[in-house]
């Protein structure tokens, strides 16, 4: 029922527009690159200091000096430019990046995002996520609609420490697509085989029309 990881990534890829500069987070967002529509030319920013991120290298061609923000070995493209971390976040904070597609632990109906720690249990760190959600033009979250216990991750209010307040524009889950609007979340699209009733049942957040 609903979309798998690759279908979620494919749906997220539909958000991209020709000529855009985009930052993709770790996890499912990384897969978005496999589904960029024909004729849409986007440039990927990697916040460790690169614009124009290319695919993984062929075996044996890994370069320890060329990694992405997930510390994976990658390659460069003809339009690639390198820069330092201060410059990287200058462009992020300065609003030069059109969109960030990020994973999440929780999202709230007012667009709050939590994705960097579970107090006392898991300390991951925010990395560049707080800068991204504060700085980029549009924030799209891609995540499972519920956790392993079946509890909604689309909440009235986040319970975990926030990455940003009122920063998310659109949420893409395995069950569908939701927009953050005045008063709550608005259903944009249902995933294949998911009914509105099922999505509503799995959503703690307020859904508005």
């Amino acid at each position: 029922m609903g979309w798998d990881r690759n279908q979620m990534a494919a749906r997220a890829a539909q958000e991209l527009q020709d000529g855009w500069y985009v930052n993709l987070g770790i996890g499912i967002p990384t897969l978005v690159v496999n589904y960029i529509p024909e004729g849409v030319n986007v440039t990927l920013q990697s916040e460790n200091g690169m614009l124009g991120m290319g695919p993984f290298p062929y075996e044996g061609e890994e370069d320890p000096d060329l990694i992405n923000a997930g510390k994976q070995t990658i390659t460069e493209l003809p339009q690639t430019a390198y820069f330092d971390s201060a410059q990287s976040f200058a462009m992020i904070r300065g609003g030069k990046i059109a969109m960030a597609i990020l994973g999440a632990m929780e999202v709230s109906e007012s667009g709050d995002l939590a994705n960097w720690m579970i107090p006392g249990k898991l300390v991951k760190g925010m990395g560049g996520a707080m800068d991204l959600v504060a700085g980029v033009g549009r924030v799209v979250v891609v995540m499972d609609h519920t956790n392993k216990a079946g509890e909604s991750k689309v909440l009235k209010a986040c319970t975990l420490p926030l990455t940003g307040r009122s920063v998310v524009n659109r949420i893409i889950t395995n069950m569908g697509v939701l927009d953050v609007v005045e008063g709550g979340l608005k259903l944009v699209e249902l995933a294949d085989g998911v009914t509105e009733a099922e999505l509503r049942a799995a959503t703690e957040a307020t859904l508005v029309n």
Partner: protein, 235 residues
């Protein structure tokens, strides 16, 4: 010409600069572009109670992780713990202080400290624990938080090439935090893969001018890869 910036070893290059309780800015992102040789020299020096500003703290047993193993670090200023088990363990057990900084805020704090800017406003972290206890201010209807410039006792940095005047060139994404870290130390020590003759770097291609660099060493680097990801060649 009595004056030289070139030293023979990491130990020599740090001689006279270390003291317990000092603050250090370190370049690198994950294990990419980290000052491996200077970290080893810090381990050997046994200097302790260090406060280190670095995006990560290496991995278990490599990079700055070595200084976790020896308990030489009192406090980290970092954005990411990630998969570093010993880092998380020392933090959760209270053995290690950890000041979380958003990655861009950390980079900008280093740049600001080096640029004589004691404070700047950013929207990053507003409405989160990062802004707790910090001044905020409204500009054009939006709330921003005041972050401070970082000035550290020492910078340790890894570059690709240096000339004897300290002009530095970095390679690909190994540049990362190294230039801003270099600028925010009262003294900056740099390790490079190659010291090239004066005049052999194009003055338009220098990433960090030598004015920021006080001491340089050349050495061999392991350059360990953290996540080796590849694709198959098409047949």
């Amino acid at each position: 010409m009595g004056f030289t910036k070139v030293y023979n070893s990491a130990g020599e290059a740090l001689d006279g600069l270390l003291f317990d309780g000092m603050t250090i800015a370190a370049g690198g992102f994950g294990l990419c572009g980290i000052p491996e040789l200077l970290i080893d020299a810090l381990v050997a020096s046994k200097v302790k109670n260090l406060t280190i500003a670095s995006n990560n703290c290496g991995v278990d047993g490599f990079g700055l992780g070595k200084l976790l193993d020896t308990k030489q670090i009192k406090k980290m200023i970092s954005s990411y713990v990630g998969e570093n088990a010993e880092f998380m363990r020392q933090y959760l057990s209270g053995e290690l202080e950890l000041e979380f900084n958003p990655q861009g805020t950390l980079a900008e704090r280093m740049r600001a400290g080096g640029a004589g800017i004691p404070g700047f406003y950013t929207a990053t972290g507003v409405g989160t624990v990062i802004a707790d206890g910090k001044e905020t201010k409204i500009f054009n209807g939006r709330e921003y938080v005041l972050e401070t410039g970082l000035v550290m006792d020492l910078s340790i940095v890894k570059a690709w090439k240096a000339d004897p005047s300290g002009n530095l060139v970095f390679r690909k994404t190994a540049r990362n935090f190294n230039p801003p870290a270099a600028t925010c130390g009262k003294v900056c020590v740099v390790e490079v893969e190659e010291i090239v003759p004066l005049g052999s770097l194009d003055p338009d291609h220098i990433h960090l001018p030598g004015i920021y660099v006080h001491r340089i060493i050349q050495g061999e680097h392991e350059k360990r890869i953290e996540q080796r990801t590849t694709r198959k060649r098409e047949a």
